[in-house]
């Protein structure tokens, strides 16, 4: 190649211009003096990849799993879970009693616990938190902000649903006793208190850094840089677009973290997460794609399965003919071979579903009508209903992977071919998950059968059945007053023990009525490098990393 000793001015100019543009963008010179710590040597770091960046660090205003993943390390609530299950266990509250009428809850709190800013955790702090939530300004009450408080406590001090508000009052009795009074019985209250949205946050820090009345409370200093809880980790830093860095809390009251630092990065594509693990760039990740499980296992990585606390179902919109005919719905149920669906599109170890909730939830029963795979029966029923060869719209989402529905397109395709095998004509309708699909399925009556699911938040049948069938919705399109009132009544039963037979009966009734076909309880999995030990999975994702070691 002939060496050009001088490039022509044009090329130089162009290159310089581009460089100038580049350099001019960094007007701030390096503020930090020397480079940071070396990273390796001495301190152990646990690098974990989730599927998206957290929305915000104040768990009151978010409802996505990634925000909660971080929140679980920093915050704790009154109630936790028994490791590996969805059952409630003491956490910041050592024990509690419920009054007979189910309205008054007395908590005995742990003593000697401090928030990360050094202030005390005590009964006064508990009441400060409850009062804060109840008194959130109207601008913060909408579902895209204080979603969980809205759903569980049903109303606030102000706003359109004040009358329905479940919270009555909070009284601090000394340092370590607190009494919460509700306006109506709610058997799931204790279980619900294990949700991250109801974590105890430092009132002092909230006062200083948070502004609930801000136009968007997710972008305040508290929500982005100063979350202050009692948990085994404190926030080191949140570099947007890069990672969240958590530091071990040396003053933690419980089992102190065995790692010095935890880093949470976001990698959207499941395959890219698997690759990053294989390259050693991360130590573990969540939401393993079904196609990656075997290859990772073979390469010597650990796959940890979460106990499924979810349900995947085929919903049917009874506002659309011929789905309003019970025989047609039954035919569809008989046409589906759930095992084939699971084998073709769901991870190994997935349990097939017979009702709309998993077996760990109070009120589970298998003593229901099951509609086992029987295509001949399906065809017969369709004939009887006069719907043989009918055209049905089948809605499904694209570009999404949920723990209960890892690859919707595959699931859709299997079911479609099964339905077409009994003579139905399927018209596929695909939409982007958010907002189109959700909006269409849950906000309009314009859909036929669809795939959806739900991961439970806490151990309460109402968190499944009530959410689905508690009232008339656009998703299911039916009015069944008996079912609605049964569910409403069940919700008001004071204790889980009394609720159990009631919910079992409701499950039977639901499967007779057959608003949809429960398909499976897919097993969500996590993957870890060989040298990561001690990770405790939780069906409700109450996974705190103080028990993790990286050798």
């Amino acid at each position: 190649m002939s060496i050009k000793t001088s490039r022509t001015r044009s090329l130089v100019t162009a290159v310089l211009a581009t460089t100038a543009l580049v350099l001019s963008a960094c007007a701030e010179s390096a503020r930090e003096g020397n480079g940071g710590e070396g990273g390796s040597g001495g301190s152990t770091t646990f690098v974990f990849a989730g599927s998206a960046e957290p929305g915000a660090l104040d768990p009151v205003f978010v409802s996505d799993g990634e925000s909660f993943r971080v929140a679980r390390q920093i915050f704790e609530g009154l109630v936790g879970t028994v490791p590996g299950t969805a059952d409630p266990a003491p956490l910041l509250a050592e024990d509690w009693t419920v009054s007979e009428d189910g309205l008054t809850y007395d908590f005995n709190l742990k003593t000697g616990v401090k928030f990360h800013d050094g202030t005390d955790f005590n009964a006064e702090a508990v009441c400060a938190n409850f009062e804060r939530w109840y008194n959130l300004p109207e601008s913060a009450q909408s579902d895209d902000l204080a979603y969980y408080y809205s759903v569980i406590f049903r109303g606030f001090a102000t706003g359109p649903r004040t009358d329905a508000a479940l919270y009555d009052s909070c009284t601090a009795n000394g340092e370590d006793k607190v009494t919460i009074v509700l306006t109506a019985p709610f058997a799931g209250f204790i279980s619900a208190m294990s949700l991250p949205a109801f974590s105890m946050q430092s009132p002092t820090a909230l006062e200083k850094f948070q502004d609930d009345a801000a136009p968007d409370p997710r972008t305040t200093e508290y929500s982005t840089a100063q979350p202050t809880g009692t948990g085994p980790f404190t926030l080191g830093s949140w570099e947007r677009g890069k990672q969240v860095t958590l530091e071990a809390n040396p003053d933690y009251w419980g089992e102190k973290a065995m790692i010095d630092e935890a880093i949470v990065v976001a990698i959207e594509d499941p395959k890219a997460r698997a690759t990053a693990l294989q390259n050693g760039e991360i130590d573990g990740f969540d939401l393993v794609g079904p196609a990656d499980i075997e290859p990772l296992k073979e390469a010597g990585f650990q796959i940890v399965n979460r106990e499924p606390f979810n349900v995947l179902y085929l919903g049917m919109n009874q506002k659309t003919e011929p789905l309003d005919d019970l025989k047609v719905r039954q035919a569809i149920a008989y046409a589906i071979d759930k095992q084939e669906v699971a084998d073709a599109s769901l991870p190994a170890g997935t349990k097939l579903a017979s009702i709309f909730m998993p077996d760990t939830v109070n009120g589970y029963t298998e003593d229901v009508e099951t509609y086992d795979y029987d295509p001949a029966m399906a065809e017969q029923l369709l004939e009887e209903a006069g719907a043989a060869g009918a055209t049905i719209e089948f809605n499904y989402p694209t570009d999404i992977s949920r723990p209960y529905m890892p690859s919707p397109e595959d699931t859709f395709n299997v079911i479609r071919s099964q339905l077409e095998a009994v003579g139905l004509k399927i018209k596929p309708v695909a939409d982007v998950w958010d907002p189109d699909y959700l909006d269409k399925i849950q906000g309009t009556p314009n859909h036929g059968i669809h795939l959806l699911g739900w991961t439970g938040d806490y151990n309460d049948a109402d968190n499944f059945l009530g959410v689905f069938f508690g009232a008339e919705t656009m998703e299911w399109g039916f009015t069944n007053e008996e079912l609605f009132s049964d569910l409403a009544a069940a919700k008001g039963i004071p204790t889980p023990e009394e609720q159990q037979p009631v919910y079992e009966q409701i499950n039977k009734d639901v499967m007779e009525f057959l608003p949809g076909v429960p398909l499976a309880h897919p097993v969500p999995s996590l993957a870890f490098a060989e040298n990561v030990k001690g990770y405790q999975q939780s069906p409700v994702q109450d996974e705190v990393w103080n028990v993790v070691t990286v050798e």
Binding site: D269, K271, G289, A291, I293, V432, D436
Partner: protein, 318 residues
Amino acid sequence: MSIDLPPAGGPVGGHYGDSEAHPEAGIDDEGKGLSLWRGAWQRLRRNPSAIAGALIVLTFVVIAIAAPLLAPYEPGSAQWSGEVTPTDVPGPDKDHLLGLDRFGSDLYTQLLFGARQSLVYGVVSTAIGLVVGAFLGILSGGIGGWVDTAVMRVVDIMLSIPSLLLAVSVAAVLGQNAYSVMIAIGAAQVPIFARLLRGSMLAQARSDYVLAANALGIRRQRIVFGHILPNALGPTIVQATLNLATAIIEVAALSFLGLGESDPAIAEWGRMLVAAQDRFDAAPRLALLPGAAIAITALGFTLFGEALREALDPRTRR
């Protein structure tokens, strides 16, 4: 994403014999046009890359049109979904020439019908771009004045963002279906054709024969349609051919971004590519075949388009 280039100064492919003179067929009714086209045809015939391009294009078109006849099965049937698992996608065997795809359809069938989709999308969107763009360009160049300025401002605005983003914005407004893709990509091509036709109008407005025709009192419309347009035909066809290549790629890109037709029963190479990603270990052919198909088809149109441009460009006569 235009892969268009300014006219090349040298041959695109290898050498070709230039020894035969280009017959200037004496004066005949058509005047200048005939010998240009005939000359172009003769040069094309001898250009290996033109032949290669034409062959590819022809194959593509034939496959696209004859897909129902060539394909052994129905598209998007997912009949064999029972044989597919997350880690195993059955490969070629006696029933399936290229094996199955991840949804359980016959891959060969999907590829064939994918050609059809690409052809339809490509042709329709290019046609939209051509018709609307030409209309604007002729209007602009023909009328001049503030109309010209206005139209050119609009064209500038459309060109101020990368064409893919323009297509994305349009597709977002129109919703997720086939029409939005075609209109979106067509919209992104409008500025190119508008500029081309306007330029042609302006360039020819000063040429002798137009001035003569004007002086003779021939109506403007007749001049435009009878003389200017036919002369602009060559470059327009070249541009359309090249844009078709781009359109085929952009359709796939929009599918990749999740816009456009989402029904898996309608095979489309771009979506096949997207769907193939997480099965790459198990079955790389699921990604390689549609991707290669897109590239080869675009290659065919590009080769042919460029050879055509060169064949029509009087400057390459040496």
